[in-house]
């Protein structure tokens, strides 16, 4: 498997046929800096989470096999806990980690896999193209084994679901 060659085209869109979210962004900053703000908690707490959210607590062991654990607080004050494990880190181009929300009783929910790739862009690498891949299924090969049927299925489903 590989990231779809059309990944850039579907930037910002969910791909329901294989339940993978792909987002691409060109950031106005060199790649080393972008990598840095993903890799250190004091930077991460400044931007991680939707608008108005804060990260009162964030612990991370930034190496393959290392765990991270964060507490995210919504503007209304609701707290959400999440944790994950770094799967692969290649400085300064790739970070891959699992992501699971923890419910109020402390039970982990469904595990997903996030892969962030950073490529130099712009004049003299002044920019960075970030591609974020968030997969519902961890096993990409299993997912792709029946890719065609799945795509057709969702085409029909898309039409069906809108009538529900």
């Amino acid at each position: 498997m590989a990231a779809s060659p059309d990944a850039a085209k579907v930037a910002g869109s969910a791909k329901p046929e294989d339940l993978v979210l792909v987002i691409t962004r060109v950031l106005d900053a060199p790649r080393a800096l972008v990598f840095k703000v993903w890799s250190q908690p004091e930077h991460l707490v400044r931007w991680w989470g939707p608008k108005g959210f804060t990260l009162p607590s964030c612990k991370m062991e930034f190496h393959a096999g290392g765990a991270f654990r964060c507490l995210l607080r919504s503007p209304e004050g609701t707290e959400h806990r999440m944790h994950g494990v770094y799967r692969e880190i290649i400085e300064p181009e790739k970070i891959s980690f699992t992501w699971t929300w923890i419910d109020e009783a402390g039970h982990p929910g469904h595990e997903t896999l996030v892969t962030v790739t950073l490529a130099e862009a712009g004049k003299d690498g002044a920019q960075t193209k970030l591609t974020l891949h968030h997969a519902v299924f961890e096993s990409v090969t299993a997912r792709d084994a029946h890719g065609v049927g799945w795509t057709e299925c969702f085409d029909r489903l898309a039409a069906y679901v809108t009538r529900l």
Binding site: G12, L21, I23, L27, A29, P50, S139, C153, V161
Partner: protein
Amino acid sequence: MSADPLSQTFAALADPTRRAILARLCSGEATVSELAEPFDMSLPAVSKHLKVLERAGLVARSREAQWRPCRLDAAPLKDAAGWLERYRQFWEQSLDRLQDYLDELQMKKTKEKEGDDHGRKS
């Protein structure tokens, strides 16, 4: 494993055979033996997969009549799509904030550098 409906949906979807069964049911109702046909699998093995799909509410089957065909129920899939949409919003907004933060960091750096240049020029 957690028993919340969404986790059940994803657990059910996390198997290629089960996804293929769903894909087949998208084109209409089918009996268990019809569903088993494309797979190198026994009927009991296919029934086992169907039970997982049933528990997740993705497939409906009449209990009284074994020969009655299976059909797809797409409602849990709609929830799954909504779940993905929430992640999309999470990331889009995080990346907006990331750019703002990067601007802030670089502004600081430029100012420091300008300070140095100014010192050298005068």
